[in-house]
Amino acid sequence: MSYAYLFKYIIIGDTGVGKSCLLLQFTDKRFQPVHDLTIGVEFGARMITIDGKQIKLQIWDTAGQEAFRSITRSYYRGAAGALLVYDITRRDTFNHLTTWLEDARQHSNSNMVIMLIGNKSDLESRREVKKEEGEVFAREHGLIFMETSAKTAANVEEAFINTAKEIYEKIQEGVFDINNEANGIKIGPQHSPTSPSSPSGGPGSSPGSGCC
């Protein structure tokens, strides 16, 4: 499938906040109440349209457990956007946000768009974190905020698409260097500018810095 841009996302957050469910809801439009714990990093993709352009979202769904932290860290680097998820019914997941944010800021490129998501908004009765608190946290750290429910699919699309819009705007503004794949943005095959082809790639060149 051809696309204008490919954005790489990463979903982070404590274990059990519903990262995999968000992804599943976004990519497959279904909800699986019982979900295996994510081992390592999983992967999903979907095409969306922004501003009339086809954009492929490639989403890494990471394991929230501490044990996998080192693995997930290695994924920050190639991501253009991150969804930082907490569970509104569990205060501790909210409390850990700072750690996650630090982690993300540290390992990702500085332009990465981070969206704060308070998931499980359908469980209003068991809410422990007020929406306002999330808003405050987002404002303080310059994040976009949204409450979603992977179960009812409320705001799920919006969360991903708004993030994509943000990235797209940044591209238009020229903030992102779209030629650097490490930013998590790739230009689609038909859009790719005639890149300097290197028939025999430089022997010492880093694999990460390869041209398109």
């Binding site: 394991a63 996998f68 290695s74 290197s198 390869g210």
Partner: protein
């Protein structure tokens, strides 16, 4: 270990194989360096450069001495039988050899590999690995220093292939793994180095592109290419996890930690061998597609595991010294059972899908999953699973569960799925709609009705449900949508009750346009009529339309009854029908007549048009065979439509009624008198009695009527009465006396009557006859009371002089005994009178014999024939007992005897007898006798003569059946006779008559003595008495058994050989 999070199963059985001696033998001192498999054979490359094959029987054989200094890597092509080996031929000289393994594949124990080509590597640096594309035109070789060479060209020819350097040595370290990936339009080469993973695009000869890779790499043997069903990955194992790479860079990763020793991908599983400690390895088999650990174990081995090969449905692990392990996968059913047991239904479903389960199998899993969730109380989850079973699982199974749980929402969900699948039954639809109506989900219902994709609703069922649920609007809309106008109409009629005019008319119009219009109208017509008249009392247009339509309908006749109460429709419809009526349309025409009459009755005098219509109808209607004149007449009478009545009377042949009408008309309007007369004249030709009726009519006194019948008509009528002998003049005169007719008008008649001849003649005849009768009477009286002197001196037979013994008869005939004996036909009759008497009696009997029916018929015929003398006929019939009471008891048998006595009087005339009543009565009994006796058998049908004779002889002795009676009963029955007077006369007569008989039999004896004797004689001498009782020849034969051999009586059961 982080693996505790992953679901683990034990789907493989690990087994160390001990029959590996042959492998070790073939290896000798060398060690296994590498191996490959894929086409029914495992090939091993050893440190001495030999290639060994292992057959299915696990017997090893050396098949080639490939490289002198050891083999680095060996590869078996999947799609062809080529085997490639990379090895060191001489120190510092490496080559890649292409072998044809065809023969070895066929017989691994005997054949050897045949060398196809040799590609000598240009570099002296030791290569670490190679990869070959399946089409055998691309070859990549990785070196220890990190360089990757790419060879393009026909590898099997192996000549003049120049390598190209894809990647130079560098900080990424030695190449540890290479793999080609064929995509739709391009070919990728994945390379893993110690510190990097890089994909290259090698599609084009001139332009090799490397993508952004990763700056971490993997060890040798710790990379493999996974061709999964869903995704293709280049998998690299590192100490923290197993990373998957795609052409777009890094993909998912699986967190299996531990220093990786070997990665091997087979049949959807990833085998990960990690170093656990010295001499022990962690074995993990991971199902990449379904994300679970299928096997986990630890192997202790002093030698490193060098080869993992999947062949013959098993996985084999070989250490460098040739030790063998076999991992055998458990069968699918076992796996599923485990999943079920552990309630891992989601996994079961995934695995089942991967294994291409049939829909039934899948449905079963879904059902089990659903049941599991249901039992856990997760009804929402369960219904989702049940939804997937739609079409396979009996829906009622699910429905019942949710009915019990009264989870309407869930049920709704399920039912919707069922309906979308299109397998819903009526009940399901009903249930679905019931759910919706219960939940008041009107929007959803609306949605269903509007959305064309939701056409699963069976409209009729849906309408039914809606109506039941009180959702008339929806039902109506639905009916409209599906063009079920009949239904819609019904809804309007039954449910809405007070619809707006427009609705009703629009639906009506639609109904009329459909083919089923008549059917619908037939069904709902009557209520429709009511409804329309209720909603729009003044409507006429619609009716015109309806009639127009109906008149085209072939079944319009059946529809008529709907509109009985609706004249606006009824009349035109009937008119249409009667325009072109069929033979069975009579009742409808009658109906039309009545409808017209009803119309006409409202304004009798002015409505000429209707009257004309009526008359037209009446003239036309009789052509129809089923036209009912009686009904028409009734209707005309009801409404006072005399013109109709007249026609009806004419047609019905009720001329007297017609006459009555004419008379009535004439009485009020004298100018109509001629018409009255004409009518008479017209019909009297065939029915003369009409004149009589006319006479009665004109002579009936009319109250308040001033117009009497004109004189000439009266005269005419009287004339005809007289001329045709329709009435005796006397009653005519009698009647005339009571009327106010002018004498002038009857004068002529009277004079005519008086002029009629014959009065005197009749009187004369009458006196004659009277005289005769009185003579006879005297004679009888004489016989009865006076002694009779026999003065005959000559025998009436021989005319000789009479001498004793002689026989005298009351008829004054005397015979010699001898003469009498020889001459007389029987002892009792006078031979002279006998003939005469017999004739008389014959006549009498002939009169008596005919049955009542024939008498009646005769009577009718005679009556109609006798124009002038009908009274005579009646009197005659009367005399024959035609008016007799049938119920008279036959026992009164003495009556006839006496009457017979009377018959002997020769001139018996009914008119002349002085006792006509008694005569008649006597005859009455006579008739009773003859008729009641008729069905009885012969003896009771005693001939009259014999009766008479016995009467003559003795009152007590009778012949025939009388004789059989006891003599004592005789007087008793006599006294019981209802006519004592006649009886006494009779007895005396008989006693009188006896004397001559007695004299005849015993001449010397005096009469009285003879009488006494005769009384006694029969008692002893009756020849019939004893004979009949004892030796009746007809009585005996009956009981005499016939000699039927088969009769039961004769059968001796004991003789039956077959009897037990």
């Amino acid at each position: 270990m982080t693996l505790f999070q992953c679901r683990r199963f034990h789907f493989f059985d690990l087994e160390k194989i001990d029959v590996d001696i042959s492998v070790q033998e073939t290896l000798k001192d060398a060690s296994v360096r590498c191996g490959t498999s894929g086409r029914g054979c495992i090939f091993l490359g050893d440190s001495d450069g030999a290639v060994h094959s292992i057959s299915r029987q696990l017997t090893a054989k050396t098949v080639a001495e490939a490289h002198m200094k050891g083999i680095v890597q060996i590869h078996q092509c999947r799609q062809s039988s080529y085997l490639l080996t990379l090895g060191e031929d001489e120190p510092g000289a490496y080559s890649l050899k292409v072998w044809d393994a065809m023969l070895v594949e066929q017989d691994p124990t005997r054949s050897r590999l045949s060398l196809k080509s040799v590609i000598k590597l240009s570099r002296v640096k030791p290569p670490t690995c190679f990869a070959v594309h399946e089409n055998l035109t691309l070859l990549a070789v990785g070196y220890e220093d990190g360089e990757i060479q790419l060879y393009r060209g026909e590898l099997t020819r192996g000549r003049s292939i120049k390598p190209k350097i894809l990647q130079r040595e560098g900080e990424h370290g030695s190449v540890t793994g290479l793999a080609f990936k064929t995509m739709e339009k391009s070919i990728l080469l994945f390379s893993a180095s110690k510190h990097a993973v890089t994909p290259f695009d090698v599609t084009n000869k001139d332009r090799d592109v490397n993508f952004q890779g990763d700056k971490v790499g993997g060890e040798l043997n710790c990379s493999c290419y996974a061709e999964g069903s869903s995704e293709d990955h280049f998998i690299v194992g590192r100490s923290d996890a197993v990373y998957c790479y795609t052409h777009e860079g890094r993909g998912p990763c699986y967190g299996f930690d531990g220093e990786k020793h070997l990665l091997y991908y087979f049949r959807g599983y990833l085998l990960i061998i990690a170093l656990a400690s010295v001499e022990s390895y962690h074995l993990t088999i991971f199902d990449c597609a379904n994300k679970f650990v299928a096997f986990q174990s630890t192997i202790h081995s002093s030698e490193p595991i060098k080869v993992a090969a999947s062949e013959w449905g098993c996985l084999f692990l070989l250490t460098s010294d040739g030790s063998f392990w076999q991992l055998k996968e458990r069968d699918l059913q076992t796996k599923m059972t485990v999943f079920y047991k552990k309630n891992h239904y989601d996994l079961a479903i995934k695995v089942a899908k991967c294994n291409n389960f049939d829909p039934e199998g899948m449905a079963d899993i879904y059902r089990q999953y659903g049941d599991h969730l249901y039992n856990k109380g997760d009804l929402d989850g369960a219904i989702r699973q049940y939804c997937k079973t739609v079409g396979k699982l009996e829906a009622s199974y699910v429905v019942r569960k949710y009915m019990d749980a009264s989870r309407v929402l869930n049920l709704l969900e399920y039912l919707e799925v069922i309906h979308k699948t299109g397998i819903a039954t009526q009940d399901m639809t009903t249930l679905l709609l019931n759910c919706l109506t219960k939940l008041k989900q009107n929007e959803k219902i609306e949605h269903y009705m509007k959305d064309p994709s939701c056409n699963f609703l069976d409209p009729e069922t849906a309408i039914k449900v809606f109506r039941k649920g009180g959702m008339y609007k929806q039902a109506y809309q639905l009916a409209n949508k599906h063009e079920l106008y009949g239904c819609a109409l019904q809804i309007l009629i039954d449910d809405v009750r007070d619809p707006c005019k427009e609705d009703l008319y629009s639906i009506l119009e639609k109904v009329l346009q459909t083919e089923k219009a008549e059917e619908i109208l037939r069904k709902y017509g009557s209520s429709l009529v009511q409804l329309v008249s209720h909603v729009d009392p003044k409507s006429t247009e619609s009716w015109v339309k309806i009639v127009g339509l109906l008149s085209l309908s072939p079944s319009k006749r059946e529809l008529v009854e709907l509109f009985i109460s609706k004249k606006e429709v009824l009349v035109p419809l009937l008119e249409d029908i009667c325009q072109d009526f069929e033979s069975s349309d009579g009742p409808l025409m009658n109906l039309l007549l009545e409808a017209y009459l009803d119309q006409w009755a409202n304004k009798k005098d002015t409505d000429v048009a209707t009257k004309e219509k009526l008359l037209a109808l009446l003239t036309k209607a009789p052509d129809c065979p089923s036209w009912d004149w009686a009904r028409a007449l009734f209707a005309c009478k009801m409404f006072g439509f005399s013109s109709g009545e007249i026609i009806a009377f004419e047609k019905l042949g009720l001329h007297n009624d017609l006459l009555a009408i004419r008379h009535a008309e004439a009485s009020s309007n004298p100018s109509l008198w001629p018409k009255f007369f004409e009518t008479c004249q017209k019909y009297a030709e065939t029915k003369p009695s009409l004149w009589k009726d006319a006479f009665y009519l004109i002579t009936t006194p009319m109250e308040g009527s001033a117009y009497y019948c004109p004189q000439h008509i009266v005269e005419d009528i009287l004339d005809r009465l007289l001329a045709q002998n329709l009435m005796e003049p006397l009653p005519i005169i009698d009647r005339l006396c009571k009327t106010r007719l002018k004498l002038g008008s009857v004068r002529l008649f009277l004079s005519k009557v008086l002029d009629r001849k014959g009065i005197e003649e009749y009187e004369e005849e009458s006196t004659n006859l009277q005289g005769e009768t009185s003579k006879i009477r005297e004679h009888i009286e004489g016989l009865r009371t006076k002694p009779l002197v026999f003065q005959g001196t000559r025998c009436n037979a021989c005319s000789q002089k009479l001498d004793f013994p002689s026989v005298h008869f009351l008829c004054q005939h005397s015979f010699h005994q001898q003469c009498f004996d020889s001459f007389a036909a029987n002892e009792r009759d006078c031979p002279v009178c006998w003939q005469k008497n017999r004739d008389l009696l014959e006549a009498e009997r002939a009169d008596k014999k005919p049955t009542k029916a024939s008498l009646d018929a005769n009577f009718a015929v005679q009556l109609s024939n006798s124009k002038s003398n009908s009274f005579a006929v009646i009197a005659d019939a009367f005399s024959k007992g035609i008016f007799r009471d049938e119920n008279q008891k036959p026992r009164e048998i003495l009556g006839p005897k006496r009457s017979i006595e009377k018959l002997r009087v020769p001139t018996v005339k009914p008119f002349d007898t002085q006792e006509p009543t008694s005569e008649a009565r006597l005859r009455l009994h006579e008739g009773t006798l003859s008729y009641s006796d008729k069905p009885v058998s012969t003896p009771s049908q005693a001939p009259i003569e014999s009766l008479l004779e016995t009467m003559k002889k003795s009152p007590a002795v009778t012949s025939g059946f009388e004789g059989r009676r006891s003599p004592i009963s005789q007087p008793k029955s006599a006294t019981s006779l209802p006519f004592p007077r006649v009886q006494s006369a009779a007895t005396s007569t008989t006693s009188r008559k006896e004397s001559p008989q007695v004299q005849r039999r015993k001449p010397p004896v005096s009469i009285t003595a003879a009488a006494q004797q005769t009384v006694k004689q029969p008692e002893t001498k009756n020849p019939f008495e004893e004979e009949e009782d004892t030796s009746n020849p007809f009585l005996e034969p009956e009981p005499t058994p016939s000699k039927n051999p088969f009769e039961e009586d004769e059968y001796d059961s004991s003789l039956n050989p077959f009897a037990e």
